[in-house]
Symmetry: C2
Subunit: 419 residues, 2 copies
């Protein structure tokens, strides 16, 4: 089932259903153990749309983008992908020309096994940075995965796929939604992985979406990009953008249901809610994370400024450690937002700061809290999800960022591993 | 004595001498216990030049700048300051109009006691954010400090001053240099405090410099700003800029020595070395810090880009935890610099990365290290100071940033304190 957060409620016309990527019609998936991960763990996955599909994709903007990202982004037809091959355990990042050749080889082998043109195949990798792919394991793995694709979509197969793309994720991040439209029902399937730019250099966040609605490519792209922008692009565990981040969505029309305006709106809402829920499950699963904060900045000069301020607060190690310590330490929030606003931003202060329904700072000064409010504040600081609002004094632009706390376990996970 | 780092060797014509702010001629200092800090600790300091002085100052660019910063920056004559009053234990930040009135009252009382116009007095505060100053303690404290100013500069007095400006600093950061010029000898005196934007909301970094050379205001300003830019503006403990950061330099000409071109060059070198040494002692004293890294980026498009990349690496919690774990984890450096360069920066990769004299990454790929080099690398990772170079593939602009590691103690210090 889709992981659901209080911050990502399902919209009215969507309901969570069993299965994952293969819940929508006409999608096959497989996950096998190629030997890249140890002890026979699943580590190589395939997804295939049985019929032509439209597709949309977003990639990391990291200049050190991994070979599979560069290959797929620059030489595949990201509007008409039908298949994805993914390996976990090795990111194929910072691997130079050999890395690009290996990614191209993965794509070619997959295309040959599936009888597709190479341009219709995307390649993703996640795992260690700076190590060449063990192609002698990957190559037979691709053959095995292609052979394992079941005749029809089956829930077990999408579970295998989800397992095959995990690295150090504690929880699986998958699910499916059924969306009821005036024109009929369609399904969305999901599989994601990631928990920050995480320990042993894991590189990092992948998300795959399948859909069986009849939607043209431009609309599907708009839906997917909009949903990514409000979900994966709005979370931070440690502020570190990986070299491998990829979101791919395939939409094959196999349901035969073609949504009209209202239907598209519902499909968009369902996609938004699901990607936000998956993104939040990455934050909750973030290294050492003990709680998730939703931070909304209001009253900024423009959206860019609002987002920059929100990110500055969300990535401040002082703010993050305060939440770990269950300390409503608003001085650190003021410091971080003052730094982000810079000297010219003084006009947007003083700010008001709320923790859930408790206004803790009014016009830049500590609010006088009664005993009941102090009790409520202590309660809030123990919640697994905390809703924060910072109201600046400016025109009114807003932005929201979701973030995790910074804990001893984060330091342990990232310091005690040795390359 | 001035704390000296391998990264900040003293220049040829400067030597460390005893005393601190009062080592240069014509400067008096005092530090008293006003009661803001508990248990009779020194918490209020005064510095006075006995004769008119030129002065230069740099302040935090945080939009939430504290009341004393706003008062001094906006209404004192920062080119002709003669005295500074400082309290520790309370930052007078996020304190609204009352805070501004309290800072102005501190300045007025100091000016009256010292018989100076208010414009010649600077006010600094450091300590808790968001609490009003206890003026009933501060006011008599200022009187006591003024009364305690000794008849002539004395080393004890500058020690009291240094103690009075400390908050959670583990080590005192003070000293004096004698600079030998063709025209004669002059002295520089120093007192600084800070260890990051530190635990219990301490706000944070202050540095005071005295000098008895005969130098005009424009030249003194240029010397001080240049030195600050290459020292305090190049360090990071946790990337968090405080609301109270201030560097003030007073230069009173009391030595009667007027440096010519060569003399000014030597004075500048001494000032640069001393401020860098003080800045590095702040990094070394950073919360939970166990080692200091010097990171130099070369081959960038321009200096701004070089600095941004250096800061991105220096503030990455993944890079910082790797150094804590003594792990030469270059993949995290590649990830952080790739993120900072962004997709358009791909042309500046691949990069070469060196840890001291060991080249660990060549053209974006892992270098093949022999056994001797691996042994050397393990040694380097245990040094208290580590010199890192990242050579990008671009035109050649450079920048250097000094940073500390991220440790369990950092999390403990910042999480376990409760407001």
């Amino acid at each position: 089932m889709l992981p659901i957060s209080r911050f990502a409620p399902l919209p009215q016309h969507a309901r969570s259903v069993g299965g994952g990527l293969t819940a929508p019609k006409g999608f096959l998936a497989a996950g096998v153990a190629s030997g890249v991960k140890k002890r026979g763990k699943l580590d190589l996955g395939l997804v295939l749309s049985e019929q032509p599909a439209v597709s949309a994709a977003t990639f990391t903007s990291n200049a050190a983008a991994a070979a599979p990202v560069r290959l797929t982004r620059e030489t595949s037809d990201c509007g008409h992908l039908r298949a994805v091959v993914v390996n976990a355990g090795n990111a194929n990042a910072c691997t130079g020309k050999q890395g690009l050749a290996d990614a191209a080889r993965m794509r070619l082998l997959t295309a040959n096994h599936l009888r597709l043109p190479v341009e219709q195949v995307a390649v993703c990798s996640t795992g260690l940075i700076g190590v060449h792919l063990p192609m002698e394991k990957i190559e037979p793995g691709i053959g095995a995965a292609a052979a394992a694709l079941p005749a029809g979509g089956d829930a077990k197969a999408s579970e295998h796929f989800s397992a095959a793309i995990r690295t150090t994720d504690k929880h699986a991040k998958k699910g499916a939604l059924e969306v009821v439209m005036p024109e009929g029902k369609v399904k969305l399937g999901f599989a994601a992985k990631g928990c920050g730019m995480i320990s042993p250099n894991m590189a990092t966040m992948l998300c795959f979406v399948t859909c069986d609605a009849v939607v043209d490519g431009a609309v599907w792209t708009e839906l997917l990009h909009g949903a990514v922008d409000a979900s994966f692009n709005r979370i931070t565990v440690d502020g570190q953008e990986s070299t491998n981040d990829t979101v791919l969505g395939l939409c094959n029309g196999a349901s035969g249901v073609k949504p009209g305006e209202e239907g598209l709106a519902r499909l968009g809402q369902a996609l938004d809610a699901a990607l936000l829920a998956l993104a939040l499950s990455i934050v909750a699963d973030g290294e050492g994370s003990t709680r998730t904060m939703k931070l909304t900045i209001t009253g900024a000069k423009d959206e860019g400024r609002a987002e920059a301020v929100a990110r500055a607060v969300a990535n401040s190690p002082l703010v993050k450690t305060a939440f770990y310590g269950r300390d409503p330490n608003w001085g650190r929030i003021m410091q971080a937002l003052g730094q982000a606003l810079g000297r010219d931003g003084h006009e947007h202060l003083p700010a008001c700061i709320s923790y859930e329904d408790v206004v803790i700072v009014e016009k830049g000064q500590p609010a006088a809290l009664g005993e009941a409010q102090q009790g409520r504040l202590a309660e809030i600081m123990h919640q697994p999800e905390i809703d924060l609002t910072v109201a600046l004094n400016g025109p009114g632009a807003e932005a929201t960022i979701y973030f995790s706390d910074l804990t001893h376990d984060y330091v342990t996970l990232n310091a005690e591993y040795s390359t």
